[in-house]
Each structure stands twice: as structure tokens, then as C-alpha cells.
Symmetry: C2
Subunit: 583 residues, 2 copies
């Protein structure tokens, strides 16, 4: 080894030892007779001291060290005269007796410090320099720890990690596949997996019983903010279980992770049906760090000649505690917020419950004090509270109110990144009607089992949309971190499902015949779940973006701007692959 210690290890008990450290020059200071150099590595920072009086040559050389030079320094550990309690190594310094420059550095394009002057694009291009910053490094160390602890927990529960293939078969259902032309099979393509779904189900058919994998998956989608074309899942599957067993097992995993990674004890996860989540939060991933549940007011507000409410399918609102003193300007802001095209409400009605208990609303023309009292009762609002109402088509209005609720939560400081609220959302609908394509899509995926008590409804075209699935999502702080389902394990039911989704018999057999065939050879009951690993890490790290928890992320155009990929390939390579580009 070129070093005896790292830059994070030396303490007062090492005094008078001769040590050798390697690292990067974080910064240096000349104080007349002394030169101090902060040497940085992955483990910390240690101060190197050079004394003009005792070793002028060395000190003069040290003064030439630039930022980010790579240095090896040997010297004696000494107690500092002025200690730095902010640094783990702040009690000591190294009085350097010899050093080498292992490599020089040109001036970095941005400062390698927490408050860097580098913009996003620059830091992406020089990602290898951005990764030197302590916070970015800490994110990847956190990621490593989450992976370790995930494996520790699942290994102890007899799960076996099995690698499934990356070069698989393209299937049109779901998101777009990335494809890979096969040179050895001209005209044919592999696809990269969107998830190892069918393979993990085949492993259950094989009797592997408890499977997991921390695995890369791929989706060729237009990248909205914070989506990546390649992402990582904690992918799990179990046999001989019911939904209850999966919920218990993976509640256990998440508790273990919170405890081991964050030092936080998490209570048992409450469960909420999809129907309740939509009714009370307007979202299948409610942020339950704060209450502010929806209250529906159709019964209370209709028939007062206010056409907006009278014509609305749903009038629904929230009560913002202590916001009765919102100014006109603040209320206008909220109105503008809900009227933005992405949210799409037509307006916002409010009612202030004033300190004296009287109520002041934006629709006083239609609702007198008596009528407004009924609102207050419905919300159990207190003096000082602000009632905010939206009205319109039910689904759209709930969706808009969800956004408003989150906005109010943010404004009221109720969405603390260091507070965690986890729950299960259960009883999802099996199918979702797509107006554009005029057919049903699987809400989770085509392998999800309907609830046994709802299977009958599959044969009733009017009720098919009401069939519930044994599907579940884990939601933390309004983020869906994981989701899964009990699977179909019967060939006929699986075939029926493909039929409902608009597959012809031939298409179903061509694309998923291997799975349906496998179901004929003794498939066990099975169920599973997959967690978004990048998202889970960013949540644990208290960050909004997954990008900083991925070592080498791509930008919103799917480009790695550091290595400049994707890029053109040469004619010869394309000929070998039997393809050409059409531009």
C-alpha cells in the first residue's frame, strides 16, 4: 500500500506515530512561517503542516501544490495547537517530512466543495469530479448500505438471489422496450427487461420459493423529470403465500432498513384501500405525513343556486389548519396554482373560519352563515382554519385537490424530509380503461390475479372495471416505493386475462406461451413485489431526485454527457448486425 492510514482515521492516540497518507489537495493556506494543506480522501480530511523554519525546501514545494493534486505525504502525527472540533481528525495534524506528487491536476471546472459553483450540466459532464464532493459520495455510500441491509434481511429469510437474463424477448404490452439486434440471428432482436417479472414467476414454477434480486431494469420512455432509462429494482417473489404474507414480510424489510440505515423505528404499516386513498387523498400514493383529508360536500352545498357547485359531479375540499389569515394575495396564488393547465381546476372556493367563529367565504352571495356552518361542521373546522373547495368532474377534481393538498402541506411545513410515514395501499382495481385505445389495460401488469371473490365479474362487461386485484403498493411520504401482486398461476385464467387485454390467442401464445405452458406443469400459488431501489435510496437520503443516488446517471434526453453516449457506430458494425439507420 502507498499509505499507512487514510485521511479519516488519525486521532489524538496516534500522536508521535510516523504515518503516510495519500489523497487530494482540498485546499492550502500560507500563514507566513507555516503552510497548511488539507488532504482529502474518501474517509475524511487531514491537515498537513509544513514549517518554513524547520524545512524551508519542503515548505516551498508544498506551496506549489494546486487544488486536486494527488499527493503522498509522510510525517509525524502531532497534536494541533488550535483544534478543529468540526473535523473528525481536527485534534491532530501531520508535520510532513517528505512528500511526492503522485499526479497533478489542472484547475477543475468547478469547485469540489459542498457549495459548488458548478451548474447541473457542468457537473454531469465532469461527473467523476462531482463524485468527489462529500454529499454525492455519501449518497452512494448510503446506497451501498441499503443494498447490504436488504441482502442481510432477505438472506436471513431464506431468499436466494438468482440472476435473470438481460437479453430477453420484446413484449409490446407495457412501456417501450430497448432492443438489441442479434448478429447471430439476422433480423431478430433481444429486448432489455423492463423487469424480471416472467423469469421470477418461472423460478417459482421451478420451486425456488423465495427469490430476490437487486437488478437493473430498462424502459425506453420519454424521460420526465427524474426518470432514468436504466434503473434498479429490489425484485422479490414468494411461493405458497397469500397477500397477507407478502405485506408482513416486506413490512419487515422496510422496518429493518429504517432501523439499520436510518436508526429509526417504524410502526406497523397502516393499510388503506385504493378506494379510500382516492376518496380521502385523491391519489393512490397519499402523503400521510400530514392529515388534511378530503371532505366531500355534495350533500351540504347543492341546491343553493350556485351553478358551479350545482352542476358539479363532486364538491370536495380540505381544511388548512390555521390559515384563516391568508391574505387575498395568498389566496389568489392558490387559485392560480389550481388553475394551472397541469392541475386544471376552474376555480377555488374558500371559507375562512374567523377567530370569533364567524365565517367569511368567497361565495357569501350564495351561502349564508347558516349554510356555511354546515361546511364548518363537515370539516370539524376550528376558528383560524381555512376551508378550500374544488368542484367538477369527480376524478379530475380529486386529482386537482391532491395537488392543492400537497401544496398546502408544503406551505405549512408538514412534509419534513426527515419524518417518514409509510403505508400499504391495497385492493387496486385489476383493470384500467384507456379511452384513447378504447380497451382495458392491466393496472399493475397482466400477471396480477383478480380477487377470487371478484373473478365472476370478469364475465360481465359492465362490471369488469370493478374487479379488484390482490395488488398492493408501499407508499412512503407520498412516493410509491414498491408495488406488487398475487399472481395468476392457472393457465386458463392467464389466457382469459390476455383475452380481456385484447390479445388474440396467437399473440398471447407467441409472446407469453412459455409462461402459460409453464403453468401446466405444476405452478405453485405465488406473489411478489418490486421496490424502486433508486427511489428508496433517495428517500432515505432525504432528497427529491434519484439522480444523485446513481453513480453515472443520464440526462433527460437519455444521454450520458460524460462519455457522450449514445453515439454513432460504424457501417461495418451495422452491416454485421444486418441493420441500417433511416434518418
Amino acid at each position: 500500500m502507498l499509505r499507512t492510514h487514510t485521511c479519516g482515521t488519525l486521532r489524538i492516540e496516534h500522536i508521535n506515530q510516523t504515518v503516510t497518507l495519500c489523497g487530494w489537495v482540498q485546499k492550502s493556506r500560507d500563514l507566513g512561517g507555516m503552510t497548511f494543506v488539507d488532504l482529502r480522501d474518501r474517509y475524511g480530511i487531514t491537515q498537513l503542516a509544513f514549517n518554513m523554519d524547520t524545512n524551508a525546501d519542503l515548505c516551498l514545494q508544498a506551496r506549489k501544490l494546486g487544488r486536486e493534486y494527488v499527493v503522498r505525504a509522510t510525517g509525524l502525527v502531532k497534536e494541533r495547537e488550535s483544534k478543529n472540533s468540526q473535523m473528525a481528525t481536527g485534534d491532530i495534524e501531520i508535520v510532513v517530512t517528505a512528500f511526492d506528487i503522485l499526479n497533478e491536476s489542472v484547475t477543475p471546472p468547478f469547485t469540489i466543495e459542498e457549495n459548488t459553483d458548478g451548474g447541473d450540466d457542468l457537473r454531469m459532464k465532469y461527473r467523476y469530479l462531482d463524485l468527489r464532493r462529500a454529499s454525492v459520495r455519501a449518497n452512494l455510500q448510503l446506497r451501498h448500505k441499503v443494498a447490504q441491509q436488504t441482502r442481510t434481511f432477505l438472506d436471513a429469510q431464506d431468499f436466494i438471489e438468482v440472476e435473470t437474463p438481460v437479453l430477453i424477448k420484446s413484449t409490446p404490452e407495457g412501456a417501450r422496450d430497448f432492443v438489441v439486434p442479434s448478429r447471430m440471428n439476422p433480423g431478430e432482436f433481444y429486448a432489455l427487461p423492463q423487469s424480471p417479472q416472467t423469469f421470477k414467476q418461472l423460478l417459482m414454477v421451478s420451486g425456488f420459493d423465495r427469490y430476490y434480486q437487486i437488478v437493473k431494469c430498462f424502459r425506453d420512455e420519454d424521460l420526465r423529470a427524474d426518470r432514468q432509462p436504466e434503473f434498479t429494482q429490489i425484485d422479490c417473489e414468494m411461493s405458497f403465500v397469500e397477500q397477507e404474507d407478502i405485506l408482513n414480510m416486506f413490512e419487515g424489510l422496510v422496518k429493518h432498513l429504517f432501523k439499520q440505515v436510518k436508526g429509526i423505528e417504524i410502526n406497523n404499516l397502516p393499510r388503506m384501500t385504493y378506494a379510500d386513498a382516492m376518496k380521502f387523498y385523491g391519489s393512490d400514493k397519499p402523503d400521510t405525513r400530514f392529515d388534511m383529508k378530503f371532505v366531500e360536500l355534495n350533500e351540504v352545498v347543492k341546491g343553493k343556486n350556485f351553478p358551479v357547485f350545482d352542476n358539479a359531479e363532486l364538491v370536495v375540499g380540505i381544511c388548512a389548519k390555521g390559515c384563516a389569515d391568508y391574505t387575498r394575495k395568498q389566496l389568489d396564488e392558490l387559485t392560480d396554482f389550481v388553475k394551472r393547465p397541469q392541475i386544471g381546476a376552474t376555480g377555488l372556493v374558500y371559507a375562512r373560519v374567523q377567530a370569533d367563529g364567524t365565517i367569511k367565504s368567497s361565495v357569501d352571495k350564495f351561502y349564508d352563515e347558516t349554510a356555511l356552518k354546515l361546511w364548518v361542521e363537515a370539516f370539524n373546522a376550528q376558528p383560524g382554519d381555512l376551508i378550500l373547495l374544488l368542484a367538477g368532474q369527480a376524478d379530475k377534481t380529486r386529482k386537482a385537490l391532491n395537488e392543492l393538498r400537497l401544496e398546502m402541506g408544503t406551505r405549512l411545513g408538514l412534509r419534513d424530509k426527515n419524518k417518514f410515514s409509510c403505508l400499504w395501499v391495497i385492493d387496486f382495481p385489476l383493470l384500467e380503461f384507456n379511452e384513447e385505445e378504447n380497451r382495458f389495460f392491466a393496472m399493475h401488469h397482466p400477471f396480477t390475479s383478480p380477487k377470487p371473490e371478484d373473478i365472476e365479474l370478469l364475465n360481465d362487461s359492465n362490471k369488469i372495471g370493478h374487479v379488484r386485484a390482490n395488488a398492493y403498493d408501499m407508499v412512503i411520504n407520498g412516493v410509491e416505493v414498491g408495488g406488487g401482486s398475487v399472481r395468476i398461476f392457472n393457465r386458463d385464467l392467464q389466457a382469459r386475462m390476455f383475452e380481456i387485454l385484447g390479445f388474440t390467442k396467437e399473440e398471447a401464445q407467441h409472446q407469453f406461451g412459455f409462461l402459460m405452458n409453464a403453468f401446466e406443469y405444476g405452478a405453485p400459488p405465488h406473489a411478489g413485489i418490486a421496490f424502486g431501489f433508486d427511489r428508496l435510496c433517495s428517500l432515505f437520503g432525504g432528497a427529491d431526485s434519484i439522480r444523485d443516488f446513481i453513480a453515472f446517471p443520464k440526462n433527460n434526453s437519455g444521454r450520458d454527457v460524460m462519455i457522450d453516449a449514445p453515439s454513432t457506430i460504424d457501417e461495418k458494425q451495422m452491416n454485421e448486425l444486418n441493420i441500417k439507420t433511416i434518418l
Copy 2:
């Protein structure tokens, strides 16, 4: 859970407990009054007993259970009358009181037993059934354990696992890349990584200091036996180290794996230079489970008017202990063996050292007893030994003799799969001249550092082929399980290296500019290694083929015959990707 126990757990101490098991019907036997069903799961097999006298209905139902039916059975654990000491659960059986058929099975296309009647192709097509066989399952469990123990060791040594991207940039050097057309960047392609080499080096530049990853890699090569288009590596890199540190660290890893996975203590790994490996074994991956080193005889055999030897660049042989009694037929077989086109020797000369010390050779016409005595001395051969000689162009002859040596090792039973002989081969040449392309290729890869003492030779076109690299391979039982090198970390030397490999400045900058640029910002000295994980697992499993240590392998045409991939994709998908196939 649908079960209380697994089929591998019940013992004599569970007697009189009521239990519920789930599993597959391995087989059933009707013995008049009793029916016995062997129920199998991942953990073992447990005998279910049905009694015609006490519960005729249930017994009759049980008789209808076919092979591979999935069953849940509840009953009382009883001590068996006739115990089976071959089975972990052989002391007990379950007297069944109730059971359900969870799923039926049609007759499997081959028997799910150790000695199956299924051929390779059939078992590949129904891989999910082949995975039910105990030995195949054991292989994947072994793989899981090797991965676990690898992580345990490296985590304890402060290595951090970092995921590197799968969608990267195509580079013409090395094997063929698999490529992925980018929809969002028309006309451009990602490549799948042949290894995370450049990314792990960038992580060193970032200061990550000790990195590892168990990671999928991809090579679009014509698949010789036992190559897979996707394979898994244990990929590692360290900073501030020298070759010696890498050898010690990963010698530690391999010792740990042997100890934890196989229960075997491995001695310190001997080191052999590439030059010695070629001279004494004719291979850079010598099988050192047995000795039988090459002895060169030029000095001894020339000038006796035997033109084959006189005209040969090299006369070299091995001494096969105790094989003097080989029959004419056996010797002819060996001659045929070395004359096969893949081996390419022109003939085989032998000399038997007979019991009385006299020597009988196939070239007695040219070599008298005195001359042959010199052979015997050179080999230190004993009565009963057989000397086998090849002659010709040096490299070709060594290569052929390597094959003969391995063949003799096999014939003599010296290549026991349960015996392990590990070593390091070091001091590889940096470059390898390719006659076809009339240029040098990197023997390891273009990022490998020449030995500092040989760097001078890079400027001498006559000596450039003699430059040695700080590159090393770990060899176990004649298999290269891992290889690596000390890396170049200086921009100018890296640029010089690309120049030697025939890159123009522009090509080098276009393809590897990001790495060379990174070297300008304070790159630390670093070195690394990668192990072939599939190969390591097959070696630990005592198998020749990696295929059975991969859950879902591809065949020699790169096809997954189970899911039928690769396959055609539709026109719309190709249009979106801006490509078309040319057939």
C-alpha cells in the same frame, strides 16, 4: 403462509405435531393398504402416508395424484416404521388428514430426477422444469453463497459496491459490442458493457478508492462451447496500491471463498511469470494440480542426423510417470491426439524407461543407449516412466505439448475436480502482435500499465513486443478465473498507448477522451482485477460447464430456446428506433 414447515425440516422431535406442508409430488407408491407420496420442495422431500383402513376416501384421492402435482397436505408427524437414513427427513412421515391439490401438472417432458431421461435441448426448452432437479438447484444455491461470501469479504475490507451503467458507448477495441438503438437520439446507439473498466477507473479518479461490483457483462462473440453472450464478473478496483497489494487482497478473497464455501484451506498462492508458464507448461493458465513440467531438449537431441529434431526450433517433452507400459495402441492414440488439426503437431516421439533401466524409443535408429541416457537425465526419469517429445516451431510446439500434458494428466487421474491448485501468473507481455491485422493489440486491455522499468522500450520498435505489463491472472486448475492489471493513470502515457495500438489522435479522443481528460484532474495510481463469476462458481461446483450455474442460459447460437429470444419485432417499433433490417 400456506404451510407451517418446509419439506426439509421435520425430524424425530416433531413427532405428534400437526403440520401443513406444500410441495410437488416427486413420486407415489401404492402398497396395498398404504399409499406413500414423496412431497418435494426446495428444502427437501418428506413422505406423506395415506392409510386405506383409517381414511379410504383420502387414500383413494391420493392415489390419483400425478407426478409434479402441487399439493398442500396437513397431518400428524409420526415416526416411520422403516426409516430411511439416506433422507434428512427419513425418520418421520406425515399421516395425512387433509389435502388440497393447489395445481395439477401434465406429464413433464422428462423425469425430474437426478438421472433424467431428458436431453440437453429438451431441458433447455423446459429450463423451469430442469431447475427443479436437486443438482441444478444446488448449483444456483452455491452461486448465491459465492456471491454472499464475496460481498462479506469485500464489504469488510471497506470496498463499496457501485452500480455502473449498462447503456454505455460502443468502442471498437476488443470484442464486438452488443448495441442498442436510441429512439431519443436518432441514428445513435448505446453499447452494452464488455466490462465496467472505464467506469471503475473513473470511480478511482473520483476517490472511491475501493470499488467492487458483481455485474453483468456482454460480448457479441461467436459462441464457442461454454461461452455466454451475457456473463457475470466480480469487478474490483483499488487506489493507492501496487501490484503486490492487489495480489494479497484477492488471494485473501479466494482463500475466504474456499474456506467459507468449500471448507477448504488454501495455501498462499505461488507466483509464476508468464515466461515460465509458457516455458514449463506451454500455457498462460497452467493446470498445476500435477507436475509433469516441460523439459527442453535442444541441447541434448540435436546433431544426431534425425532431421525432425535437427530442423526444429524447439524439441520439448514431458515425462509421464509410470506409463512405460503403454501399449503400441495407446501410443498410437496419443500420436493421433497430437496430430489432430486443433493441436497440429506433426508427430510424437517417445522413449520408455524400462524396469531394468534400459530405454526403448521410437527413434532408436538415431539415438543409441548413451544418447537416450541423456534424455532420461534431463527429465530425471525413473524406470517405468514414459518420455514424450514434440518438435517444431517453438510457440506451436509448446501449445501442442500443453494439450498432450493435459491429456496425460486426465489419463493418469491427476485432474481431480475436488482438488484445487491456485496460482498467480504475473509479468504478462503488454502487447501481442496480430499477424492478420499487422499491428499490436493490448494483451490485457489498453489501460494496462507497462512495467516502469520497461517503459523505455516502448520507443524502440524492435523491443516493443518485449515490454512487460504489471498484469496478472489468477489461475485455478488450469482455468483463468480472474485477471487484472495496474492501470495507466497518466494522460500522456495513455495517449502513447493508444498510438501504439494504431488509434489516430482523433479516434483516441473520440472514444476515450473522457478517460484521458479525467486523468488530467488528479487521477490516483490504481489497479484492479475482475473474476469470471460464472466460471468461479462452476469450478467450486466441480463442473466443466458454466451453463448449469446460470439460471437461464443461452445456447450456442445465443438463443434462449425457452422464451424463444431473440425474435422479430414489429415495423412500428423499428420505425420509432429509426432502423430497418437488411436481410
